[in-house]
Structures are given as C-alpha cells and as structure tokens.
C-alpha cells in the first residue's frame, strides 16, 4: 500500500502537515466559538432584558447574520476588512502595509455568524429559567449582574448546552470556508495534498476523517459536560 504511506509520517508522508492542519481547524473553531459565545450572550441579554434600542439592534443583527451566506461574510472581512484597516491606518498616519490575517478574518467572520445563532439558543434557555428562582435572587438584594452570573447563567447554560453543542459542530464545519483566505487548515491542506499527489479520493477521505474525529470527540465532551451540569437537577438525574 504505497497510497497509505502518503498519509504517514515518513519523508514522503503528509501525516505531519495534516495533523498541523487539523490543529489549525481546531484553533480557528475554538476562537470563533468563543467570540460567538461572548457576542451571543450580549445579544441574548439585549433581546431579553435590554431597552427598546438594544432590542432592535440585537434583532437586526440576528436577522442580517442569518440571512447572509457565510462565505460572503468571510470575504467581507478578509478582503473588505483589509480595505477598511488600510483606510483607517492611513488616515491615522501609520505607515503601511496593512493586513488582516486569514486566521483573524476567518475567526471573526465565523464568530459573528455563530454569535447570532448562539444568541437564539441562549435566549431560549434564558427564558426557560424558572421565574421564581429569579425572584428569589432579586428579593435577597442581588444586583442585576450578580443575578445574571449566579442565578440566570448557570441555569440557562444547562438548558443551552445541547444547542450550543450543535452550534459548535456548525462552527467546525464552517471553519472549512476559511480556506478561501489561504489559511492552512484542514480543508486547504487536503486540497493542496490532493492536487500535488493526484490522490484526490485518499486525501479528501483523510480530510473527512479529521473533521469526524474532531466532531466526535467534542460531542463526547459536550455530553460529559451535560451530564455534569444536570447533577441534582432532576430527580434521579439523567
């Protein structure tokens, strides 16, 4: 099997770069997911307990992000973002050249898209927090922030975990789109390898295996987290 040697770690093998590419996929995805979680929390906050202005902004943002193709947002950030950075940088009198890395643009773009989706998950979970437990927090004198941190967020997170798990899977798959910026993540690396060796089937299959490995593993992690967070919640647990 000379073919499989191509995937190995020998001198002709692509093993090492594939592993690196897998790690890059993981890195972009984690960064994007965290950006999305922070943003999603903010948007959910705006939609649930913000004033009219915050509510409208959050609503508008969600509508835009859900209605525009992901690939367009990435282009917008990578190419468009470069233009903006250059314009702003020049205006401020900094010497060029200006650049936005593929990692930065991709992470931000996917994070912003994911933020809109995560906000929907979080909003649903927030509204499912039993009203009485919130009143119990208010009545002992908790500030808004303490109430959120100590009463609302921990309970909402339990409800949100399965939905957030789905969002994480989407982020991993969307991260393949970042390959258009030239960032050497899994998708990019396997197409380079496939083109170079003309072993298309082998390398794209290897790519699929890498994505599957990441998604399966993280699915297990989310399940563990869910089980842990449910302790004490329902009689008999789950």
């Amino acid at each position: 099997m000379e073919d499989l040697a191509l995937l190995g770690f020998g001198p002709d093998g692509w093993g090492k770069v594939l592993v690196q590419a897998g790690l890059m996929t993981l890195a972009v995805s984690v960064a994007a997911f965290v950006v999305g979680l922070a943003l999603g929390t903010l948007i959910a906050w705006g939609r649930v307990s913000g004033g009219g202005m915050a509510r409208a902004l959050a609503h508008g943002y969600t509508a835009v992000m859900r209605g525009v193709p992901e690939i367009l947002v990435i282009y917008l950030f990578y190419f468009g973002g470069r233009q903006v950075v250059t314009a702003v940088g020049t205006a401020l009198g900094f010497p060029g050249p200006f650049d936005i890395s593929g990692f930065m643009a991709g992470m931000l773009a996917i994070g912003l898209i994911s933020g809109a989706n995560q906000a929907e998950v979080l909003r649903g979970a927030w509204q499912a927090v039993p009203k009485g437990t919130i009143e119990a927090g208010r009545v002992v004198g908790m500030s808004r922030f303490t109430l959120f941190r100590r009463v609302i967020a921990p309970q909402a997170l339990v409800t949100a975990l399965p939905g957030l798990g789905n969002q994480w899977q989407s982020v991993i798959k969307e991260s393949a789109l970042v390959s258009v910026t030239g960032l050497v993540e899994t998708m990019r690396q396997v197409s380079v390898a496939a083109g170079t060796t003309q072993e298309h089937f082998l390398f794209y299959a290897a790519g699929a295996a890498i994505y599957l490995a990441i998604t399966t593993l993280s699915d297990q992690l989310f399940r563990l987290a869910e089980r842990h967070s449910l302790r004490g919640h329902q009689q008999g647990g789950m």
Binding site: G132, R138, V139, V140, G141, Q155, G232, H233
Partner: protein, 261 residues
C-alpha cells in the same frame, strides 16, 4: 409581645392595579419589632400582591413602603436609579418565603443558604458557612447540607427556604402562604419552624389560610377584602368578634370548610 417603640415595617397609602384590575386600594399597615401579623382574606383579595409590593417584586402605583430607616415611594410603576439602590438595601433587611419555595435548583442546600451572605453581603465564607449550618440545624436539615433541592420533600425545601431567609439577618420575614403548596402531612413541620421563630420574637408578616395557626401564633390579624384592610386586631378580636359582615362570612365559610375537610 407588641412593643410599639420601634417600627420595623411601614406601608402607607399603597395602591396597585394590574390594567383595569384595581388590586390594592390604599393600604396602611405597620409592624413593630416582634409583631407577628397574619394576613387572611379570600382568594384574589390582594394578599400576595401586598406582600410582593414590600420588597418591590411588584412596584406599587402609589404609596410608601418603609423598612427600617429606608423608605421608597415609587411613582408611575417604576423605580429610579436612586430608588433601586434604596430598594436593594431594604431587601437586604428582609427575608421572603415563597409559596413555591423557589430554591435555586443548581445549588445544594448549604449553597442556597450562603448565597446571599457571600455574594450580596460579602461576608467571609467560613463565617457564612458556620452560620448557615447553625440555621440548617435549627430547621432540622443540617444532615442535608449537600443535597440538591430536587431531592428534598416540599416540607424540607420550605425549611431550607426559611433558613435562607434567616441568613439575611432580616428585621422582618414575609411569608406568602408558606404551607399551601405542601402535602397535608408536611404542613406541620413547617408550621413548627415558623412557630419557633415567633417564640424568638421575630417580626413576621404571614399570609396564610391556616386559621388555627394564625390564631395561635399571631399578635395581630389583618383581614383583606378587595384591596382594603377590613379588620385589624388581635386574634381574639378578629376571630372571636369580627366587626365587618364580610369578615364574619369569610371566617364562617373557612371554618366550615376546615371542618368538612
């Protein structure tokens, strides 16, 4: 027990409507240190609304609520920033016990009790834990310190809720039908705890349908009817010789029902 030297809780001219439904139509009520006031009245007469207006869980349309040295008179159904700060100070001096317990399900029994001391009042953990354990011991649940609320009976949950209220070092404790959500066989254990608090001289305002209990523990009984206080007197006065026809009818129907049940 009634020592009129010190007013702990005061309500004056309190009004509250939900839409066109005028629920509280000018309530005046004050509690002095050590008063145990039972509030009775038909379903829908506004008892819960009145109780919830004290820590501003419902914001009244008019009137003044005072706790200790703090008082607010919200207007237009909302609180200003300054009023919000006052209300938080007032809440820190009150304990509130809900009909449905409302324990935090994601925290253990002990964590429920130390939550506000740690995260609102900023007390030291070791001190808060020691005190919480003493309170749990008092309500007979020290052994359940690490259990989650879902694994407790209703009566146990309500006793934890009372310990949580006591951890506030409250000047007054408000109870909204603390035994109404309980199976009949669990009512006694909760009433016993409340009775012991009355014996300690705690100031309490208790909404209840347990007439026998009200008669026994209260220093004063208040009868609410359609958003008005119709009777206000000692248990002997209100239960023995109610002045208003409506109170008489309410009590008659209530004792009838109790006898049948």
């Amino acid at each position: 027990m009634t020592d009129t030297s010190k007013t702990v809780l005061s309500i004056a001219g309190l009004r509250k409507s939900f839409g066109a439904n005028e629920v509280l139509r000018g309530i005046d009520l004050a509690a002095s240190d050590g008063d145990v006031i039972s509030m009775i009245g038909a379903s829908g007469s506004g008892k819960s609304t009145l109780l919830r207006c004290i820590p501003m869980l419902e914001i009244p349309d008019a009137g003044t609520v005072g706790v200790g040295e703090d008082r607010v008179s919200p207007r237009g159904g909302r609180l200003t920033r300054a009023e919000e700060a006052t209300v938080r100070r007032m809440r820190c001096q009150l304990g509130f016990v809900f009909q449905n317990f409302n324990l935090w399900p994601h925290r253990t029994v002990l964590e429920n009790v130390i939550e506000a001391p740690l995260f609102v009042q900023g007390r030291a953990r070791s001190e808060a834990v020691d005190e919480a354990m003493a309170l749990l011991d008092k309500v007979g649940l020290a052994a359940k310190r690490d259990a989650y609320p879902a694994h407790l009976s209703g009566g146990q949950q309500q006793r934890v809720a009372i310990a949580r209220a006591l951890a506030q070092h409250p000047r007054a404790i408000l109870f909204d039908e603390p035994t109404s959500a309980l199976d009949p066989e669990l009512v006694g254990e909760v009433l016993k705890v409340i009775r012991s608090l009355a014996e300690e001289g705690r100031t309490m305002l208790i909404v209840t349908h347990e007439m026998g209990f009200a008669r026994e523990v209260s220093s004063r009984v208040v009868f609410l009817h359609q958003g008005h206080i119709e009777e206000d007197g000692t248990p002997a006065e209100v239960f023995g010789a109610p002045k208003s026809e409506r109170a008489r009818a309410f009590l008659a129907s209530h004792f009838d029902r109790n006898r049948q049940g």
